[in-house]
């Protein structure tokens, strides 16, 4: 089972608009908001990255899906050997996304709910540069 890519457009529009539109998050994560990954050679961190972990159609058997049931990860990447900056920005993301809903030009986001454990892991980049990832999964129903 899979969903058409355009079913996810409202989700990604809403996430980008919500995250980019918040001045507090922009101050905590001045690197910006990106889908999938940060651009090669980016210098400013922390930055926010989100992407789809899973997307399943919702609908009665034999009928066209009327909704998408998606799990998105949203995380902050900090160029640091500490989680503090990434955690602070992710706390703001939780405030902006968890238990929320809204509309995008391409459709409607019915509900957003954080679920599962927090995502936290280190990464050593080229030249030994340390990064810390802090985020979580969000279940999103949209149409």
């Amino acid at each position: 089972m899979s969903v058409a890519v355009n079913s996810l457009i409202p989700v990604e529009q809403w996430l980008a608009t919500t995250l980019k539109g918040d001045a507090t998050l922009a101050a905590l994560a001045p690197g910006g908001v990106f889908v999938g990954q940060t651009p090669e050679g980016m210098a400013t961190f922390p930055a926010v990255v989100f992407g789809s972990g899973s997307a399943l159609p919702v609908g009665a058997v034999g009928n066209a899906p009327f909704m998408v049931n998606a799990v998105y990860f949203v995380k902050v990447i900090a160029k640091s050997d500490s989680y503090v900056a990434a955690d602070n920005a992710f706390n703001r993301i939780l405030f902006l996304l968890d238990q929320k809903s809204g509309t995008a030009t391409a459709g409607t986001v019915y509900s957003v709910q954080q679920e599962g454990q927090y995502i936290r892991y280190p990464e050593t980049g080229a030249g030994g540069i340390q990064f810390r990832h802090s985020g979580g999964n969000f279940r999103i129903y949209a149409h």
């Binding site: 089972m1 999938g36 990954q37 940060t38 090669e40 990255v49 992407g51 789809s52 972990g53 899973s54 399943l56 799990v71 990860f73 995380k75 990447i77 995502i119 892991y121 990464e123 980049g125 990064f131 990832h133 985020g135 999964n137």
Partner: protein
């Protein structure tokens, strides 16, 4: 008007409650095995070609999918699914310049309905 008194003749609730914990643990153990098998299945597509961003990773060395396994009885009402390489989390959620190739989240989501059915099956 008479209001009758309902007398409980057979209270099976304590028996049900006692059996439920073991049943749930059994479902969790079976479900962890199913999720691990699904995660192994979707990470078994041979490389080349490389996986696209958002798709499960293609299998280059088999190290990742050989490391995926279920841990039954991991705790009270807990069973785990483990991907035992240090780069598994970076594949699942992405790196600084690497888009995510999720494999555990899709495996869980694919099996979720079956897990729910098994849990429902525990109730009389």
């Amino acid at each position: 008007m008479t209001i009758g008194v309902v007398e409980v003749q057979f209270n099976t609730l304590p028996q049900l409650a006692a059996g439920l914990g073991a049943g749930v643990q059994r479902v969790l153990n079976d479900s962890a095995t199913d999720i691990a098998e699904e995660a192994i299945r979707i990470t078994s597509t041979a490389y080349p070609p490389a996986s696209a961003p958002g798709e499960p990773p293609a299998m280059r060395t088999a190290e990742l999918n050989a490391s995926i396994h279920a841990v039954p009885d991991a705790g009270p009402l807990e069973a785990d699914v483990v991907a035992g390489t240090d780069y598994a989390v970076t594949l699942e959620y992405g790196g600084v310049n690497l888009a995510a190739r999720p494999f555990m989240t899709p495996a869980v989501e694919t099996k979720k309905a079956a897990i729910q059915e098994r849990l429902n099956g525990l109730l009389p």
